[in-house]
Symmetry: C2
Subunit: 217 residues, 2 copies
């Protein structure tokens, strides 16, 4: 009888990663999904240039991340091959302007925006921003946002993940599938939410009010 | 010793589906991926109305499906909320006009294009098509294409799949993941190719000249 148990132990140990992945797919704490369209974060210098000296952005509605909000104002983004109008500005102002576009926008503008996390802008793409008061030529700051999950450090501990770790998320439905390389962003002052862009949402048939669970790789 | 083998047999049988899925991920015959942007197939009646009586579409280049080609001509698609310009026409003409758009186009136009396979148009969305000679109001025919894999019946046999079956495909890379519900279309006169649209390609970081292997569900 001991021999059976030994064999069973060896087999289960070998198969543990596979079995664990499957279990996580079925259960776990749900995380709401937020779908991001293209948008811009501006520096006050850029706001001054685009909207006029000392201009203050107008809050339209609060976002899931504490202190972040969508603004009434929009701008035009221009590249060597095309323009995109009505790009929403998100507030408050930041130290460095950052424009998050879709992969298809990258083709339309004729620029090569890299896949990056917010804030990782060194060597990213440039573009011209156009507002009612003038334009700004960004040398860098244009990226395609890498999908990620915002959470507090104590929530990361509960989920068994760490800041910077990449996980997989799964979607059911008639256009279901999985997205890998979803980066955990576990820092203070975070609202629990998984951020994907509209192309990722459309490709997987994801609608607002969808929840996901984390699948560790 | 016999008892060990019996136990091992029971365990392996129970785990077979899981192990098989993983194996298929690693190997198998590769299938090229074709990325479709929005496009329109027109009836001759629609061509007559949009471009002039008896107008013949101009071939620009052949597509992977035998006899199919992209045309020089484009049209405008209009819905209650917006328009999309420069929508490529694919030839030859068909019995019924069919417009395949992206999910984001559906929002932009303000219509509810259902997720359908080509040709399955009953009760699908309507839109107005606009050409240099006039416009056509389609009562139905506008869909978001359901991802699919074209192959010959003998290829389906080789892949161990049947016409209409849904499979999963996987993509590696920094925006990797899986797409489920990819429909096998196994009919005569097919070119072996997996068709996804630009939103699906962008979401998974798929570029031209990518290959996939079929993962059975």
């Amino acid at each position: 009888m001991e021999n059976y148990e030994e064999l069973l132990g060896v087999l289960l140990e070998k198969l543990a990663p596979t079995l664990q992945n499957q279990e996580v797919k079925q259960e776990g704490e749900e995380i709401p999904v937020g779908i991001s369209n293209r948008h811009a974060h501006l520096s006050q210098t850029a706001v001054d240039k685009l909207f006029g000296a000392g201009y203050q952005l107008t809050k339209l509605k609060d976002l899931s991340q504490p202190g972040q909000y969508a603004c009434k104002e929009t701008i035009i983004i221009a590249g060597p091959k095309g323009v995109i109008e009505k790009v929403r500005i998100l507030g408050p102002v930041r130290k460095q302007s950052q424009v998050e576009i879709l992969q298809s926008d990258s083709f339309k503008l004729g620029i090569k925006a890299p896949l990056r996390l917010s804030g990782d802008l060194s060597g990213s793409a440039g573009a011209t921003l156009i507002g009612p008061n003038g334009s700004v030529e960004l040398k860098e700051g244009v990226i395609v946002a890498k999908r990620h999950i915002h959470m507090l450090p104590e929530q990361a501990k509960r989920f068994g993940v760490t800041d910077g770790e990449e996980v997989t998320i799964n979607f059911a439905g008639p256009r279901g599938g999985s997205l890998n390389q979803v980066v955990i962003r576990a820092v203070e002052n975070s609202g629990l939410e998984c951020h994907i862009d509209t192309e990722e949402a459309n490709a997987l048939g994801v609608t607002p009010n969808t929840n996901i669970v984390i699948q560790k790789n």
